[in-house]
Subunit: 164 residues, 2 copies
């Protein structure tokens, strides 16, 4: 058993899993902020130099999981680990967002796809050499034919009943 | 308090925090595997279509944290959240690795920077639209002048005393 505690909370315009952008690219026009708990304030030093950060957070509205889900972008059930669905064995979410500025304990972010009130577990600086593979080598499985449509699509209520 | 349990364990050539690659790009020539626990076997369906996956794992050798650390690539203390150091408020690690193939419950991976025996918490498919910002917009803070050197450098023992 591994235990974590929130280092802050994420605030966004999205009050429920309905109508949130399905991934940050679709949330490009949406802004939010993160309030970091005071005891971690000093951990934020030097972070403002990074244009993008990776947020690791707890899907606090999700419970349980099924091994296969029908992703937002597909009509066929896919293995859970081949999707970013919120109901997972460990309810961990991951989003790369733009870091617009920092004011004291508050991080202003955009390109967000996260529900308001989400507990934040960690922040990593986005580093091209670590986080972006050689783009000529990418294969994207079931998503490959759906990719072009990605930024335009928003979530429906497919997961709401399961995640409420 | 948020609790998770391992969904599998990561096996690599790196028995300690000494001499592991500092990030996956430096670990390009190293291979390893992940054994997924049997109850999550069905979650792996469709994953083999993805060339790269994001591993979220627990830094099981790390304890505690300090607000500032001297990163491997620098000589100046930096705020913890502006680094990928393993000693963090929540000991969560994040690596994008190549998924070479899957045989039953075993994932064969390369480009790894992870210590042998690390508990795996989650797998996400790497998706360019979600995980790779517009590369013309990237600022990388303190790393910006060190980036070219990134792939060539390996870890020293800077964190060993703290993490052992």
């Amino acid at each position: 058993m591994i235990t974590y505690e929130p280092v802050g909370f994420i605030h966004t315009p999205f009050r429920s899993l309905n109508s949130i952008p399905i991934q940050p690219v679709a949330g490009r026009n949406f802004q939010g902020y993160i309030d970091i708990l005071p005891e971690y304030h000093e951990c934020l030093q030097d972070l403002a130099g990074f244009s993008h950060i990776i947020l690791i957070y707890h899907f606090h509205l999700s419970q349980g999981f099924t091994s296969q889900v029908v992703p937002f972008l597909d009509k066929v059930p896919r293995g859970l680990f081949a999707t970013r669905a919120p109901r997972r064995p460990n309810q961990i979410g991951l989003s790369t967002v733009s870091l617009d500025r920092i004011e004291k304990n508050r991080l202003f972010i955009s390109n967000i796809d996260i529900v308001d009130g989400t507990p934040l577990l960690d922040i990593k600086p986005w580093i091209q050499a670590a986080d972006c593979p050689d783009l000529t080598s990418i294969r994207s499985g079931w998503l490959e034919e759906k990719g072009a449509d990605f930024a335009a699509r928003f979530s429906d209520n497919r997961f709401t009943d399961q995640d409420g």
